[in-house]
Amino acid sequence: MIAVLALVAGVALGLWYDPEVPAALQPYLPIAVVAALDAVFGGVRAKLDRIFDDKQFVVSFISNVLVAGLIVYLGDQLGVGGQLSTGVVVVLGVRIFGNVAAIRRHLFRA
């Protein structure tokens, strides 16, 4: 419950504060969002599985975002940024899908 409030507060803060994203970081924003979504759904699922762990959540969030950004950066340097970010999105997308399916099973028993 508090987590949801914190999320809403973060969104409100972002909308209200409206920070300027530096141009160098802009290409990594979408991929960071996907990585963050993966961490969120993983955390929600773990909560429903009753195995949620704060440390695990924090570490997985930070490392997900950093690694995803790093992979895309590396890809950009090698000239395969588009393909690598597709790969990242596919892997994270599969995980998000799987976790959402598990959450759905928890919530609706179906």
């Binding site: 508090i2 987590a3 914190a6 999320l7 809403v8 507060a9 973060g10 969104v11 409100a12 803060l13 972002g14 909308l15 409206d18 920070p19 994203v21 802009q26 924003l29 979408p30 960071a32 969002v33 963050a36 961490a39 969120v40 993983g42 699922r45 773990a46 599985d49 009753r50 195995i51 949620f52 762990d53 704060d54 440390k55 695990q56 959540f57 924090v58 570490v59 997985s60 969030f61 930070i62 892997v91 599969v94 995980r95 998000i96 899908f97 799987g98 976790n99 598990a102």
Partner: protein
């Protein structure tokens, strides 16, 4: 429930299944959660209250950051969008503007050309002027009027694209169709041809650039009307030509429309003046004088000589 609960003991020697993707699909949750849960079960003190509170607050901070990230990404995407469409509409505007400018200028060129023709007719003898006019009509540099044929080609309506049949090809008019029609009209005896009001000359091109068809580097859009002025039997001759047969078959199979009709009193505009090209010797025999010559001559001598080819015929 995770379908494969792991206990803490084999945590160290956890191996990824040889097929990483299968593993990914089967068990999307980070294995770390199961490990942590197992650790806690084994050693309940590790998650005691004094340690849990800072961790909880860190989690809350991370969630806050998450929301912040989402909001920023949303903002960013929304901000980019108007910029992108603005740039696009700006470009469209520029294209429109330049096109209308080109139209205006070519209209002016037309007027000036008519003026030149009038002056020339006044200066020349009537027989020479007539010869010049007929030459201009033949080469596409003069406006012509007469009876002839209009061949109309149009893309198939869009909704029929839903059933694309691989064996019959696209249901759009291709540049090669227009080329075929124009070539067969010349072969059928046409004296002057225009595609959508663009007069064809001996040096005209019909090309494709992306989705657009360019006639002499100016885009034309469907429906395409190829008007030709020529003798009376041109229509029958064209009717039997290869491109007419092909296009009729294509029209039957793809739903593209193709029609030939006779037309009276067609007016075909003049083509823009051709850019005259000059041959230059590939190797100048004596470099220094010819180089000096060239540096002086181009401006005046070219503008001076340019009327002479058309004047001399």
């Amino acid at each position: 429930m995770t379908d494969a609960p792991r206990d803490g003991r084999n945590r160290g020697d956890r191996v990824y299944a040889p097929d990483f993707l299968t593993e990914l699909f089967r068990n999307p949750l980070d294995p770390g959660y199961a490990d942590a849960a197992a650790r806690r079960r084994e050693d309940p003190q590790s998650g005691s209250a004094w340690r849990r509170w800072p961790a909880r607050s860190v989690t809350l901070v991370v969630v806050l950051v998450l929301g912040f990230l989402f909001a920023v990404a949303y903002r960013q995407t929304m901000e980019d969008e108007p910029g992108r469409s603005q740039v696009r509409s700006g470009l469209v505007e520029q294209i429109k503007q330049r096109e209308s400018e080109t139209d205006r200028l070519s209209e002016r060129a037309e007027q000036l050309r008519a003026e030149v023709a009038r002056q020339r007719a006044a200066a020349l003898g009537s027989s020479e002027a007539a010869r010049l006019r007929s030459l201009e009509a033949g080469t596409g540099l003069g406006r012509v009027r007469g009876d002839g044929v209009v061949v109309r080609l149009a893309d198939a309506p869009k909704d029929e694209d839903a059933v694309i049949r691989a064996d019959v090809g696209p249901s759009q008019v291709l540049y090669s169709d227009l080329q075929g029609v124009a070539n067969d009209l010349w072969a059928a005896g046409a004296e002057a041809i225009a595609v959508n009001g663009q007069r064809l000359t001996a040096m005209s091109t019909i090309r494709q650039a992306g989705q657009a068809i360019l006639v002499d580097y100016r885009p034309v859009t469907g429906p395409y009307e190829v008007s030709a002025i020529g003798p009376e039997e041109m229509r029958d001759r064209y009717d039997r030509s290869r491109s007419a047969l092909t296009m009729r078959t294509v029209a039957e199979e793809t739903g593209l429309s193709f029609g030939i009709r006779e037309a009276e009193d067609l007016t075909l505009p003049a083509a823009p003046d051709p850019r005259l090209r000059y041959a230059e010797p590939s190797v100048s025999p004596s470099p220094s004088p010819s180089g000096a010559d060239r540096s002086v001559s181009p401006g005046p001598s070219r503008s001076g000589t340019s009327p002479s080819p058309s004047g001399g015929g």
